[in-house]
Symmetry: C2
Subunit: 529 residues, 2 copies
């Protein structure tokens, strides 16, 4: 991906990728090489969501949560130190996005118990962690929570190693069942007798994600077994150089070269595995050669491996040191990440709720609609006093509610608007309408913001403190001159403009222009035709 | 409860009650007499939360959700028609309060599968609804979802009939387990050897709710079996008078009085049950007498029963007619209800998250705290540019975040503030500090609102567009005169006041007074001691 693409990511929609990691505390080289290292590469190519799976920590460690928050912070520090860049990917804490729990509950409704009982890790882990009581509802459901974690972001790919590829299969199965039950259908078959309904592939709500196989190289711990926190054989990403050296010096060589005058086989030596991963090819070749010929002592070989690891960890440690001084920055990144993730998750849930009967939108009553359009009072504004709850809603939701209300209850039935984007709608005559909402500020004005693009019409929805909605449909000719001037002078910068009133007169205030009276455009839907 | 109490409900905190009902569509007399009728009484005595359990509808009817939204609206109409008053109780749709799913997930972590498998209705319902595939994860978990529904509101009571009292036991069991794991502990025992930790009863996070037994009179359907939608033997709350008469005319008399000259026994007659519930005592006595003596014909007896039912349903139907004309009002009530329920649920979840390691607050780093207090730049304001995400948050959350930040990172360590209420804090010298936050408005001012009570200090936290936080600690003497004048003139009405700046000078603008320069009080924490 080129630099210019990055600055304008919307120009090339990228495939979406999602992955998560349990907050086990400071990460070790096994966690790093098995996942995080790959993620750092992926963020340059994909639209990435990476999360810290704190709910999952509870599935096995519900009995002691005292370290959870601290562990989450350590993992976040490791994510950022290892090179995940919040400008290139979205990093967040799972439990800060409540939609995970919501989708999990919804998926549970149609997920057979047998599907979950069949998951191999269910019995395995219960065996392995016998000291914990894992015959819980939550532990049985954790693969389904994983499915919700994934499907919530409608990703194209889930990056996993070869050994975990099967895990994604359950998610695909759950998605398939969801789509079979709820996604929009199309008719298939060659004649009336064979006609059948099946989910329309173009309109699947929870598309089945593909596995994106990522390298998971062999990474032994100092005792030669797989590196794992529970074995106590780990080298941490945040270990100081001396600690890496000390641990490496204790690493097994696979029980060979005793005495050191005997030649060795680097292929069965854990230290050899470390060289293969962290040493430069030239160094690695040299080490292998001298091991086989007994020209190098294990002590030296381990020192060189330590140096290679430390070289790799150096920039990671440097970043960690900076971040540790500034934990608030880390939390800000996580909060911003959660806000972005919520936005993405909400887009999915909006579709999911709508097909499962749980939509939070009001049903549109055509009766109400007609009443509004023919109402004598429509030129005096529309009473929104029943919607007080919207006034203090989060701005995007508020705007959406007012816009939806306007579309369903105020825009006359003859005017057919189709949605082009969040705020831009197109009339049946292909006129582009920029629809924007504002509530009265403390000074009795309405502030608006817009990209200074070209729109045939502005629809300005001004909500005053008496909860009356005043709607203005302003044709381009009215505001074109200052609008275009601003656009030329400020390029793509957003244009801030105002609506004010004086008595019963309304004025549009654009930068660098006298206020323009637009009272006549109130409730004037003619220009939309 | 007297009228004056209602106007000032905060003066007598009422016990809290919670109950829910599945959205089965229009309710019948069985639903009404078994629950809704009791709820209407309860709202006068208790702080009530009543919800429409749309998630629960999915546990059994996930395969067809096409009628769900409509059914929800019908139940809402019946709730309001039957006399639930949104001014006296909180009515909402379960799925509009995402905390239900969140608490359900959290409780699942430690809930044994065996506890859920033991619930009698689990096997029963699977048998009864054999045509539906209920061997699902969601169906097994529905009693746990019920527990979450209840515990989320920390209610004192759950109103149920005698036959359902056992259902509440699971909820109490789950609460007990939660408290054992997570609620703050106290030491019990008489000597060092017998000392043990147990949950402190005064600080339980999820107190075990008590059963509030409510009458569930026998209410037969027209075929004499229990009135139930699935039996097709129901009289609806919304049935028109003619329909009630027609259904009652078909009601079984228990197979007696054939021929009509034979005397009957009203105690074994479903029509007799209806009289007992809906007829005036005098009418009921008369009917019973004439039945036993064969002085009344069953046709007449049923007509009188219909008249009694219709008399009871009359005001309910009237209200329904009004509400049906105005579905938007119903949805507004449900939206306001959801907003209130979210507020209550969030108060519980705040405690729950905090003890389970899922708190969304930033951990307070004493390092950062010290850095802030000793910073040279503290008189120039505090940089909040890392907190951009707060700027557009929902106002209460935004205020809370800024306030928490101020408390943890700006207030000097020597100043010990204890929380008195949401916005009022008390210094160690017992001075009351009113802490209020505002973000710069479009005019470059900050608007504040306060109850004009007496506070020794105001802490005004002004957040400007450059995301700098300016903090002012203003002693009472500075603002007392206009403040007291306002209080006298406007009683308990909230006082709106302003902060403005001109260059580097800051001014406090109180109604009816000249602007007061308060620049000198910036970052001036001395008065707190």
């Amino acid at each position: 991906m080129t630099e210019s693409n990055q600055q304008n990511p919307s120009s090339t929609p990228r495939a979406r990728v999602l992955s998560g990691m349990r907050p086990t505390g400071r990460l070790h080289l096994g966690n790093y090489m098995g996942a995080l290292y790959n993620w750092v590469q992926l963020q340059h190519e994909y639209e990435c969501y990476f999360f810290i799976a704190d709910y999952h920590a509870l599935t096995t460690d519900y009995a002691d949560t005292s370290k959870l928050k601290e562990n989450v912070q350590e993992v976040a520090l490791d994510f950022l130190s290892a090179g995940l860049d919040p400008k290139r990917c979205t990093i967040f804490i799972q439990s800060h996005v409540p939609q995970h729990a919501e989708l999990h509950l919804l998926l549970s409704m149609f997920t057979p118990l047998s599907l979950l009982e069949r998951v191999p890790s269910y019995k395995d882990q219960q065996e392995q962690l016998r000291e914990k009581d894992l015959a819980t509802y939550g532990f049985l459901g954790y693969p389904l929570l994983q499915s919700a974690d994934i499907l919530l972001y409608q990703p194209d790919f889930v990056p996993v190693g070869q050994d975990q590829a099967a895990h994604v299969e359950l998610t695909r199965e759950v998605a398939r069942r969801f789509n079979q039950l709820y996604s929009p259908k199309r008719l298939v078959g060659t004649d009336a007798a064979s006609l059948a309904e099946e989910p329309d592939p173009a309109r699947l709500i929870l598309p089945e994600p593909e596995v994106l196989l990522t390298p998971t190289p062999k990474l032994p711990g100092i005792d030669g077994r797989k590196m794992s926190k529970s074995y106590g054989n780990s080298i941490l990403l945040s270990d100081v150089p001396g600690s890496v050296l000390e641990k490496m010096s204790r690493m097994t060589n696979g029980g060979q070269r005793n005495p050191q005058s005997k030649p060795g086989n680097p292929d069965i030596c854990p230290v050899g595995d470390m060289h293969a991963l962290f040493s430069k090819p030239m160094v690695n070749d040299m080490i292998r050669e001298r091991c086989k010929t007994a020209e190098i002592h294990c002590v030296q070989c381990k020192e060189i491996a330590s140096a290679s690891i430390n070289l790799h960890l150096h920039p990671i440690r440097e970043r960690r040191e900076q971040l540790e001084k500034n934990p608030d920055e880390v939390w800000s990144i996580l909060e911003r990440g959660a806000a972005e993730a919520v936005k993405r998750a909400e887009a999915t849930m909006d579709q999911v709720r709508s097909v499962t009967g749980l939509s939070r939108n009001r049903p549109i009553s055509s009766q109400v609609k007609r009443a509004f359009v023919t109402s004598e009072s429509s030129r005096e504004g529309h009473d929104l006093s029943l919607q007080t709850v919207w006034w203090d809603q989060e701005p995007n939701l508020r705007a959406k509610n007012v816009r939806d209300y306007w579309l369903s209850s105020i825009v006359p039935v003859e005017v057919k608007l189709t949605q082009d984007s969040d705020r831009v709608f197109v009339t049946w005559k292909k006129k582009r309408v920029y629809v924007t909402t504002s509530r009265e500020d403390l000074e009795g004005r309405w502030g608006f913001e817009a990209k200074p693009k070209s729109y045939e019409l502005l629809a300005l929805l001004c909500w005053d403190k008496e909860l009356t909605l005043h709607d203005f449909i302003v044709p381009q000719v009215v505001y074109q001159a200052p609008w275009t001037a601003y656009k030329k002078a400020h390029k793509d910068e957003n244009l801030i403009f105002w609506m004010s009133r004086s008595g019963s007169q309304y004025y549009l205030e654009l930068p660098g222009a006298e206020p323009i009276e637009i009272t006549a455009y109130r409730g004037q839907y003619g220009p939309m035709n």
